[in-house]
């Protein structure tokens, strides 16, 4: 869906490239997360994708079409791409409602479709439309503004979204909720999303695909699992940090290690020590500790399909960390 081919960007007046020979591909319906330290070129990549700036060299394709095609009006291109900018950038002279309705207005939607859409969107990002629709940006908290920014980007239901640290200004608890909510929505929306974050945990949670950047260069890309289990170098290892194993347990579904032949002992039933196949292995571990058992039963919907033992988890950890 989105392809970057050997893209370079050197800003005028600077001799160090902000982005150097970056190539990758984002598949349709996927979330691709860009992680890396400040100044590594994440925002620059997003801005090149929607042509706010032009690459110095290299090509960018969206749906197989070169974005730099003469026939393509960049303003029209951008109306098809939702953009959540890092600094939020709400229009201070317009109400929340008018801010969210910006792109639908530009696309000349009929008036009567816009209002309900705005309400729907505010609801979606967890804001009460009755409360905030008529407020002005300065009356909102940073986190609320950010959510309005996300709603604005989603307004015209663009197939592609560029989200630059969209949950950066909210506290960890709300951030977790927003991430969950967003992933739930994404299951239905199936948008192609480029998502920037500083936070490796957010990257692992949100990403189908992760691109790790450093000083303008692409260091490693792959699924979260690939990145966690096979960090390319010490930079990626440091980025992942210390709780790598736990992150891996969060990423592995119980279904992947369930012991299907095993009988479920009576004690497990008595303690109601069950999890679902789609729960992460992390959940199995938590349940064991809570229920003081070294075995959990695994269910698929209502059916009991097997067990996971403490030893199975240990084996998994050994396998995952052994690879590194």
């Amino acid at each position: 869906m989105i392809v970057l081919d050997k893209v370079d960007k050197v800003f005028p007046g600077s001799n160090i490239p902000a982005v150097k020979q970056v190539s990758f591909q984002v598949d349709e319906g996927n979330i691709c997360v860009f992680v890396g330290p400040s100044g590594c070129g994440k925002t620059t990549i997003l801005r090149m994708i929607n042509r706010l700036i032009e690459p110095t060299s290299g090509d960018i394709y969206i749906k197989g079409k070169k974005v730099s095609d003469k026939g393509l009006n960049p303003d029209h291109l951008r109306r098809e791409i939702g953009y959540v900018i890092q600094q939020i950038g709400l229009l201070p002279h317009r109400t929340v409602e008018q801010n969210v309705a910006l792109v639908p207005y530009l696309l000349k939607w009929p008036e009567e479709n816009i209002k309900p859409r705005v309400r729907e969107l505010l609801d979606m990002v967890g804001l009460d439309p009755d409360e905030v629709a008529q407020k002005y940006p300065f009356q909102l908290s940073g986190g609320m503004m950010q959510r309005v920014g996300v709603a604005r980007a989603l307004a015209a239901d663009p197939p592609i979204m560029l989200m630059d640290e969209p949950f950066g200004a909210v506290d960890p608890i709300v951030r977790g909720r927003l991430q969950d909510e967003f992933l739930r929505l994404q299951k239905e929306m199936k948008k192609t999303i480029c998502f920037v974050t500083h936070d490796i945990n957010e990257a692992i949670k949100m990403g189908d695909h992760i691109v790790i950047m450093n000083k303008g260069e692409l260091v490693q890309h792959g699924t979260p699992m690939e990145i966690l289990s096979e960090p390319a170098n010490s930079f990626v290892k440091d980025l992942i940090g210390t709780e790598r194993e736990i992150k891996l347990l969060e990423l592995t579904k119980s279904g992947e290690i369930v012991n299907k032949k095993a009988e479920i002992p009576e004690t497990v039933r008595q303690k109601d020590c069950f999890i679902s196949v789609i729960d992460p292995v992390q959940r199995a571990l938590e349940t064991m500790m809570k229920k003081d058992s070294d075995l959990v039963g695994v269910r698929d919907k209502d059916q009991e399909i097997g067990t996971i033992s403490w030893n199975d988890i240990k084996k998994l950890i050994n396998k995952l960390s052994g690879d590194a």
């Binding site: 951008r78 950038g89 201070p92 002279h93």
Partner: protein
């Protein structure tokens, strides 16, 4: 009784001495109306052309940074020239001579500095993430100018219009020396005839008009400012 009448007499003296101009204004109300009308028609003409000209120049220099310094340089020089000189210089230009055209041209030049500066400041006050957001949402440069930059700059631009209008109303009085028949004329002739009432009448009239104008435009300024841009006022 004697006491009361002496107070009355004292009050009468005070009135005659300091408020004789009220009598004057009433007595010469026709003139007052004529001069006031002339005064305003000049101010309105000047503001009409100033708005078109100086707002355009302000927008231009906020886009072409290099022109800004030149424009401010010219504006500063114009501002140092005493109003009476500017009027005087225009009347010695043969095509113009005494009269309204000279007066209007001089005043339009005077309007340059406050107008252009405020338009420039206003446009520059729009922070770049807001522009970036506009571009990112797919607004064309024209839409960004008319839907983002000008609306956000508008309170500052209007403040410039207000200051300029009041200033032009004041300086227009000086145009009486190049033949304008406006409120400055009471002061001008008052001095020539050493008539205190006439001078004070003129001074009070123009001052009251200027202060009123400033007050009214201040109210308008508040009205037209988007509540979203009114933070400071609301919070204090």
């Amino acid at each position: 009784m004697i006491f009361a009448s002496s107070i009355l007499q004292w009050a009468g003296n005070i009135y005659e001495k300091y408020f004789g101009f009220v009598d004057f204004i009433i007595r010469r109300s026709e003139r007052v109306v004529e001069y006031t009308a002339n005064h305003f028609s000049l101010v309105i003409t000047v503001m009409f052309f100033s708005l078109i000209l100086w707002i355009s120049v302000g927008l231009l220099i906020s886009r072409y940074e290099k022109l800004a310094n030149t424009a401010f340089g010219i504006g500063n020089i114009l501002f140092v020239i005493p109003s009476i000189s500017l009027f005087g210089i225009f009347i010695t230009i043969p095509m113009l001579g005494l009269g309204r055209t000279s007066a209007a041209l001089a005043l339009i030049l005077y309007a340059m500095m406050p107008m252009v500066r405020n338009v420039y400041r206003g446009i520059k006050s729009v922070e770049w993430p807001i522009i970036e957001a506009g571009r990112g949402m797919g607004m064309s440069p024209k839409q960004i100018l008319f839907q983002i930059q000008i609306p956000i700059a508008w309170p500052i631009i209007f403040a410039g219009i207000r200051v300029t209008t009041v200033m032009i109303t004041g300086i227009a009085t000086v145009a009486t020396f190049i033949g304008e028949r406006n409120l400055g004329r009471f002061i001008h002739h008052g001095i020539a005839r050493e008539s205190a009432d006439m001078i004070i009448a003129g001074a009070v009239l123009v001052s009251v008009i200027a202060i009123l104008l400033d007050y009214i435009l201040g109210k308008v300024e508040y009205k037209i400012t988007s509540p979203g841009l009114r933070k400071e006022q609301e919070q204090s």
